[in-house]
Amino acid sequence: MQDDPDLEREAVRESLLESEAAEAGAPPPREPVWARVRRSWTVRAGGTVLAILVAIALAAPVLGTVDPSYFDPGIRDLLPGTASEFTDIEGNTATRTFWMGTDSFGRDIYSRVLYGTRVSLVVGVAVAVVALALGIVAGLAAGYIRWLDGPLMRLMDGVMAIPGILIAIALVALWKASLLTVVVAIAIPEIPRVTRLVRSLVLSIREEPYVEAAVSLGTPTAKIMFGHILPNTVAPLVVQGTYIAASAIVIEAILSFLGVGLPTDIPTWGNIMAEGRVQFNDYPHNVFFPGIFLALTVLAVNILGDGLRDTLDPRMAKRL
């Protein structure tokens, strides 16, 4: 070698330092997840429509509604937009425009649809929460306690083999029809799917080296489950939750429509449509307005879910 060895070594060392500096700048700064979520137009669109629906549900009493179950036989079967005299429950008479018409009992469809929003949203959220909560517990148990896996998953397979609506009808028939019954009845058939999802996530995450590192650091099992594994299942579970909520809203409407859901005196979109069904040819508005609200709600929840899936869980978005 003709070069001065010291000089050469120095040059190599410099290059090493430089290459580490270059590597240090390698990963481009990543946007926080919630910024990406907020930027997604699907999340915005679905979220806006849902926010309006929530506002409607909360503000139903002050949006020019009357008692949704009070009926005035004098104003039966009015077409949408008709103005008529109306006597309320205290006996006060006033002229009122019925924007969505009235049904065959003389009840105001507008008030009934707005109050029905409450039932639908409560059912959607409650079912998602119940199904996720029970599914997470069952899924963690199946994924982490090996001997429980077989029996538990076979039980879930069994639940899955029964049509969801059938379970719901049976439960409603068994207990009395109430909001709680309906929520439980709709949630039960959803549990196996959440359980399967959580179990498969647990099984793949528990093999991750960072979980093994935690094991070798002596971290207690409970802390590994709730500190390492559960937080990494949140994104897919949030997405799954929106789909469960959307389907729960539809199923609640179906149960009400079939007459096995909430009692008919509670205004739900399904109940309104069920009562309007007989006169559908003459007075389609009885079915039309709650139908529009139902479709809009489910669409909004699903769009929100798609947006969340695309931003929170890009791998799943690619699979579908």
Binding site: E8, A11, V12, E14, S15, L16, S19, E20, A22, E23, A24, G25, A26, P27, P28, P29, R30, E208, P209, Y210, V211, E212, A213, A214, V215, S216, L217, G218, T219, P220, K223, H228, P231, N232
Partner: protein, 593 residues
């Protein structure tokens, strides 16, 4: 000088805005002539694959050629139409990839995949195509061509799949072959076979080859000329011997310097140091018994005896599937051993119940291979480092832990500001430093390092190895260093154990095992390592054929005998006992029995 097959002139390809630099490559010019192998060398992010994809007309939409030309036999590729490119691919230029499993269609028979190329590009009749397919399969030295063409990719080994890829690429005798790191995913003995094959076929057909790699050892084996690419710019180009003998750019020197030289054989053993961990007859069998049916048992590790001395390094070497990771995981009790003892300071921890392992976990820690998977993406660095202290060092206060975290970060060469950041904000090398700090946090006596550098670029690899060596000198930690890279072992290890199909076939001081290997497998492994020698010595040296057999049905007798050039009748009938050829050098081979 013949007319170049590929002429790249002043090529510039823009990166989308928001990247770490404006151009993926810029001002790159080089040529590949007929019958010549040009190696394009660079680390990840250097732009070498971008050039390959641009040449094939396979650039992703986000990247665009902004200046310069790529000419294939005088024809401009950059401005060629999509149809023209389709006609050129396979016929005039073709490409082989790093991962032969994903590059082949898993639901098509290998023969049909080669046939597809012929059907698309030639008017040959089925019988002629069939003959041509069998010819090319024979030419890539696949055994039993009739069976191979009827197999699906999963029925072949990694090396065989790469041979099928090469057959597909060469069946139409293209003028240019682009090989994008074709041996990176393969074991070292298989890599040597594939390199030899590429050279042989290229010489026979006069193909121009653009060979992309990050490994100067491979360059030394195969190249005629070398082009070194760094952050999108060519920093050095020239004939192989010249670049290897007299590299001008410091970056080239650094890359060449990071290849194992195979001269100083390991570090001297201090035999007076106390043995802190030893295994006796350690074994792990997977899937031995099912409740309803008997499952095929995989003997991942069998009768493993090893000793690790205080403050010293034991290197375990072996190809993938040799069971070296299983041994590591048994020792840190991430898996439960099926038999044998693991003696930590004389106490057997192999069968201890999990809840009584705290004392062991304080003394033995592990660093994993992939720094991108081994750090929880949702935890801050400070929490990652504190986890072990919280679980194992009960009684410490948060203030003490916080001071210790600062000290740890300094020890592994990271700034104190790192502790409030998340893992994704760090590069691979920095993440591995965090993982090392996490292991150090509980002040272990032994760190099991399972391929800690194989997911990193060569220049970063050197830094991590230096860090490990520095920590050993400073803190007196012992390492169990697991790797398939013999160069790292030679640099770090005091003692070496070589594993083949679940058993240790040779062990002893590093300088003896690497310097005068006794087992034919160790000899073959050492011969297969591409070293930087201008002649490309290793390819000419003694070589073993074939690949690691399945551990579900290992060959009877000595597991190595089907590939062993010196096998005798005894090797086919009985597994050799361990014999000592020196007080500290043991080998399992009938040749030394």
């Amino acid at each position: 000088m013949s007319e170049p097959v590929l002429q790249v002139t002043d090529l510039a390809i823009a990166l989308p805005t928001g990247g770490d630099r404006p151009f993926a490559v810029s001002g790159v010019s080089f040529a590949v002539r007929r019958g010549e192998i040009v190696c394009l060398v660079g680390e990840s992010g250097s732009g070498k694959s971008v050039i390959a994809h641009a040449t094939m007309g396979l650039l992703p939409r986000a990247l665009a050629v902004t200046a310069g030309t790529i000419a294939l036999e005088g024809e401009d590729i950059v401005r060629a139409s999509a149809e023209r490119l389709r006609a050129l691919r396979a016929a005039r230029m073709s490409m082989i990839f790093q991962e032969p499993m994903t590059a082949l269609n898993p639901v098509m028979r290998c023969g049909d995949q080669i046939d597809e190329v012929l059907r698309t590009h030639t008017p040959l009749a089925p019988a002629e195509r069939r003959a041509k397919i069998l010819d090319i399969v024979r030419e890539v030295h696949l055994p039993d061509p009739d069976r191979v063409v009827a197999s699906y990719p999963h029925q072949l080994s990694g090396g065989q799949r790469q041979r099928i890829m090469i057959a597909m690429a060469l069946v139409l005798e293209p003028a240019l072959l682009i090989a994008d790191e074709p041996t990176t995913a393969l074991d070292v003995t298989t890599q040597a076979q594939i390199l030899k094959l590429v050279r042989e076929l290229q010489a026979k057909h006069g193909t121009g080859v653009l060979f992309i790699t990050h490994d100067f050892g491979v360059v030394s084996e195969i190249a005629d000329r070398v082009a070194v690419l760094r952050r999108g710019k060519l920093v050095e180009m020239g004939p192989k011997d010249e670049v290897l003998r007299r590299p001008r750019h410091p970056y080239t020197k650094m890359l060449i310097g990071s290849v194992p030289s195979m001269t100083p054989h390991g570090r001297p053993v201090d035999a007076s140091a106390r043995v802190i961990l030893a295994t006796r007859g350690l074994a792990k069998t997977y899937g031995a018994s099912g409740f309803f049916r008997r499952r095929a048992a995989v003997r991942a590790a069998e009768d493993v005896n090893l000793e690790i001395r205080r403050g010293q390094t034991l290197g375990i070497v072996g190809e993938s599937g040799s069971g070296k990771s299983t041994v590591a995981r048994c020792i840190v009790r991430l898996v439960d051993p099926s038999a044998g003892e693991v003696l930590l300071d004389g106490e057997d921890i192999a069968a201890k119940p999990a809840r009584k392992l705290g004392a062991m976990r304080r003394r033995v820690q592990i660093v994993f291979q992939d720094p991108f998977a081994s750090l929880n993406p949702r935890m801050r660095v400070a929490d990652i480092l504190a986890e072990g202290m919280r679980a194992l060092d009960r009684g410490g206060t948060e203030g003490e832990r916080s001071r210790r975290i600062d000290a740890l970060l300094e020890q592994v060469g990271l700034p104190a500001t790192a502790k409030d950041r998340y893992p994704h904000e760090f590069s691979g090398g920095q993440r591995q430093r965090i993982a090392i700090a996490r292991a150090l946090a509980v002040r272990p006596k032994l760190i099991v390092a399972d391929e800690p550098t194989s997911a990193l670029d060569v220049s970063v690899q050197a830094q991590i190895v230096n860090l490990l060596a520095g920590l050993q000198a400073e803190l007196g930690i012992a390492y169990l260093f697991i790797t398939h890279n013999l160069g790292l072992v030679e640099y770090l290890a005091h003692e070496v154990a070589v594993m083949y199909l679940g058993r240790i076939v040779e062990r002893g001081p590093a300088e003896r095992v690497l310097g005068s290997p006794a087992h034919p497998y160790t000899q073959a492994l050492l011969a297969a390592v591409p070293a930087v020698a201008p002649g490309g010595a290793a390819l000419a040296a003694a070589r073993i054929e074939g690949e690691l057999p399945s551990p579900i049905s290992p060959p009877a007798g000595c597991h190595f005998h089907p590939r062993c050039p010196q096998a005798t009748a005894a090797c086919r009938s009985a597994y050799p006992q361990e014999t000592r050829i020196a007080p500290d050098h043991a080998v399992r081979c009938h040749l030394h029995g």
